[in-house]
């Protein structure tokens, strides 16, 4: 453990680790400090010069991202002087900014806008023809679009490709006010984590091709959830919106910071997995391909279960919430069925990398293992009740509970996807995490729990 020392900020006392960055303390204690270039995952670069604070004994204002905490340090983060410095630097940041907020996707979650409301509120003093022009839409690759005019040259994106992915696709070319972000000659932004630069970008310079012009961010509702792409359990925000007279739609997944799991980032595949969740859904109740009512289907299911009594195998998808798996096990006990959850199908060695991606693509397989559920293939005689397991089994009779439509025989019930339901998951590192319910569909598919209450034997 390093030494904890006392630091005074704006006449209040705080404890901080000796030698840690002052800006980390300010961020942690929610003391207002503007900054573009600093990022906890990328460290200090010291180029934006916005995080100026006054430190007793120092002649000039200092940047908090390059100030190390010392015992008894006295810091002023407010006051006329420091606010003037911030205002002046912000004014410089804005002189060549196009101020095209009405057409900018970042509007509403833009640091430049926020700081302007805090420190600016002035008219531009530079005539528009004198502004430095840049390219407005550069396709960097991997769904990332660059607008050079909006860029504040904080270099977060280039530092991400240098320090985090080590792929070095991005760099800054040119000098002075003609400096701009670009890909290295002959290269494209191309790595499995590329879209994180969109979140890192504090302004609207880097936007996601996938999200551009889809929604104004202030209309979006944000819910905490967990990505179901693999067993890593990356924490995400689900941004969704229900436009009047339309259905509730997810517009994007964004990484949610969790230092124990995914840090600040998620992979692009996980980020874009929201699309599959909304496409090709199982929406109707089917018996051998013919639509029937839910009540009829439940009656049919009970008949099947009677017919195959003592010869039923339940197959569980290892992506289901723990609560659902618990209820299914209880149900299996009641109807005296065997239970299995074959896990081999989830293993994808090609997906694995040394950052976040796991070769195990089941979000809750740890729970399957913890509950000692049989992970071998089911016996194909008798009837199989499949709770959304991705494999197809050729048994005599089948009942399916599916989120997504697929070519299956027997009785098929539509069920809610994880975004339409709440529950917990345990990731590969045995960390149990909660997903909140995000989407409220106009005609929601029932949850597994709702079905199991109805199908009591």
């Amino acid at each position: 453990m390093s030494e904890i020392v006392e630091v005074i900020v704006d006449k209040r006392s705080y404890n901080a680790e000796k030698g840690s960055l002052l800006i980390d303390l300010l961020i942690k204690e929610k003391i207002k400090v503007p900054y573009f270039c600093y990022h906890e995952a990328l460290g200090a670069d010291g180029n934006c010069r916005m995080c100026m604070v006054e430190i007793e004994g120092q002649k000039r204002p200092q940047i908090a991202c390059d100030t190390f905490v010392k015992e008894g340090m006295e810091v002023h983060s407010t006051g006329e002087n420091i606010e003037k410095v911030r205002t002046n630097i912000l004014e410089l940041e804005l002189i060549n900014h196009p101020v095209d907020c009405p057409t900018c996707d970042q509007a509403g979650e833009c640091s430049l806008q926020d700081f302007y409301m805090d420190y600016g509120l002035h008219d531009s003093k530079i005539a528009i023809p004198e502004k430095v022009k840049g390219l407005k839409k550069v396709d960097l690759g991997s769904n990332v679009m660059l607008d050079q005019e909006r860029c504040v040259l904080c270099a977060r994106c280039t530092r991400f490709t240098d320090k985090i992915t080590h792929t070095h696709e991005l760099g800054i070319i040119g000098r002075g006010d003609h400096a701009r972000v670009s890909t290295m000659p002959g290269r494209k932004l191309d790595n499995p984590y590329a879209m994180n630069v969109v979140d890192l970008c504090p302004v609207g310079a880097l936007t996601s091709k996938d999200f551009r012009f889809a929604q104004r961010v202030w209309f979006l509702q944000t819910v905490d959830s967990i990505c179901h792409g693999c067993a890593k359990g990356c924490n995400i925000y689900i941004d969704h919106n229900k436009i009047k007279y339309q259905d509730d739609v997810i517009y994007r997944f964004r990484p949610r910071r969790n230092d124990d799991v995914n840090g600040f980032f998620i992979c692009d595949e996980g980020r874009l997995s929201y699309k599959n969740l909304q496409e090709n859904r199982q929406e109707t109740t089917l018996l051998n391909g013919n639509e029937i009512s839910e009540d009829e289907a439940i009656q049919e299911a009970m008949n099947f279960m009677q017919k195959y009594e003592n010869n039923i195998t339940i197959v569980i998808d290892a992506n289901l919430f723990t609560e659902e798996i618990d209820a299914i096990l209880e149900f299996a006990k009641n109807i005296n069925a065997k239970v299995c959850s074959p896990l081999a199908v989830y293993i994808d060695e090609n997906f694995k990398d040394d950052m976040l991606k796991s070769s195990n693509r089941a979000a809750n397989s740890k729970t399957v293992e913890r509950l000692n559920i049989n992970t071998n293939e089911p016996n194909l005689s008798g009837m199989i009740i499949n709770f959304n397991h991705p494999q197809t089994f050729k048994s005599e009779e089948q009942i399916h509970f599916l989120t997504h439509a697929r070519n299956e025989q027997g009785l098929i019930f539509p069920i809610a996807a994880f975004t339409e339901n709440a529950g917990t998951l345990t990731n590969e590192d045995s960390i149990t995490q909660k997903c909140e319910k995000a989407v409220d569909k106009n005609s929601p598919a029932p949850t597994i729990l709702a079905y199991l209450q109805k199908v009591q034997v």
């Binding site: 934006c48 100026m52 002046n88």
Partner: protein, 406 residues
């Protein structure tokens, strides 16, 4: 005026850049001193001599040498700063083209003192023709076995002014963009690929052989108490005989201009002098009458000695265009890392252009001073503060000309 030729002794000789001429004129004689002094003793001599860095900053060179570790498991390096890009400064190219062997001799002594086995000379991209002379001198030295114990590599820059800043120079040498690094909080060497490195100007290194040969006191006998020794002062602009002339510190500026430069060109009157490369504040003719050429004197009137490359401006000079000329340079050369510099240099350039085009207002002049204030002391390196100094010095001393131009 006392003649003092410490660095420029061989400049006038025919073929002075060759090993043959160098050796015939006592070149490489001080290498024998390596047997006499230990590395630490050599550093002490340099500290004792009060040799100050001649790249513009004027920091004590010996103290910088003393920061180098004497027993490190990492290799130490010397980087010789020959990225001479400061407008008005052209002394280093004189050394590398007229007496490159003096520089090599200085490098060998310095490397011995700081226990480096490899020295790099970072040469300005535009100095291609001088690089050829320097490289052939190094090749000659290799052939003669002089560089058996220490390698010298010439690294050519790509033409960025900022690469003369020592940490940007090292970044550039590491193959990155020439961006100055955040300054360390305590005194420590520079780092080249994480190895301790000393960065010194060409002229500083070229002064080392004289000090080692003749001792610290011989060097201190030139100049003033605080500004010891000599400097390759230079003159350009409206002066009869522009060029590089070595002189000791502390002589009067006007005496220097009249003695070496032959006074103002075409018998005109002096209006202003930029004393030490473009980044030092301009001074008026009246101030030029009073100052002496040393760090302290120029500092006391709110300017700086810098590299000693004087830009002389006569009575016909338009100070607004002179400032515009400088600001265009800074606008072009800002590395673009820190916001105040990146955006500020462009803005002040545009504002002065506006004044020059008779579209300016009184507010623009005040705005210039305000931007200069924002650019001062709020960036990683001293580029923006220099621009700030230049703007403030021009407006403070010649405000009437700016107001007339509105």
């Amino acid at each position: 005026m006392r003649e003092c030729k410490i660095v420029s002794r061989k400049f006038e000789l025919e073929n002075s850049h060759t090993l043959e001429v160098a050796k015939a004129n006592d070149g490489y004689r001080t290498l024998a001193k390596m047997a006499e002094y230990s590395p630490l003793e050599m550093i002490e001599i340099i500290q004792e001599s009060n040799l100050r860095g001649k790249g513009g900053g004027g920091a004590p060179a010996g103290d910088k040498w003393a920061l180098m570790p004497q027993n490190s498991d990492k290799p130490s390096f010397l980087a010789v700063n020959c990225d001479e890009s400061e407008p008005g400064t052209f002394k280093d190219r004189k050394i590398i083209s007229k007496d490159p062997h003096l520089l090599i001799e200085g490098i060998l002594l310095t490397c011995y003192a700081i226990r480096a086995k490899h020295a790099y000379i970072y040469i300005r991209g535009e100095y291609k023709q001088y690089q050829g002379i320097l490289q052939s001198a190094i090749d000659e030295a290799y052939e003669a076995g002089i560089l058996d114990a220490c390698d010298i590599t010439v690294h050519r820059g790509a033409g960025a002014y900022i690469c003369g800043e020592k940490s940007a120079l090292l970044e550039s040498m590491e193959g990155k963009r020439g961006h100055p690094r955040l300054k360390p909080k305590q005194k420590e060497p520079e780092w080249f690929f994480d190895n301790p490195t000393l960065v010194n100007n060409v002229e500083t290194i070229a002064s080392v052989p004289f000090i080692i040969e003749n001792g610290a006191n011989a060097y201190k006998s030139y100049g003033t108490e605080k500004s010891s020794g000599t400097l390759l002062f230079a003159m350009s602009g409206h002066v009869a005989r522009p060029g590089v002339y070595e002189s000791e510190f502390g002589i009067s500026m006007m005496e220097y201009i009249n003695h070496f430069g032959g006074g103002i060109k075409n018998g005109k009157r002096l209006k202003a002098v930029i004393p030490g490369g473009a980044s030092t504040g301009v001074i008026t003719a009246k101030e030029a009458e009073t100052v002496t050429l040393d760090y302290e004197s120029l500092l006391s009137i709110g300017s700086a000695l810098g590299t000693g490359g004087m830009i002389i401006m006569d009575e016909d000079t338009c100070m607004v265009s002179a400032l515009k000329n400088l600001l265009e340079f800074y606008h072009e050369e800002s590395c673009g890392q820190c916001t105040p510099c990146r955006e500020g240099t462009g803005w002040v350039d545009k504002l002065v252009a506006k004044i020059l085009n008779k579209r300016g207002t009184k507010e623009d002049i005040d705005k210039l001073l305000e931007i200069a204030d924002t650019m001062n002391g709020k960036t990683i390196c001293v580029f923006a503060p220099s621009v700030s100094t230049v703007i403030v010095s021009f407006i403070k001393r010649f405000r009437d000309e700016f107001e007339e131009a509105l």
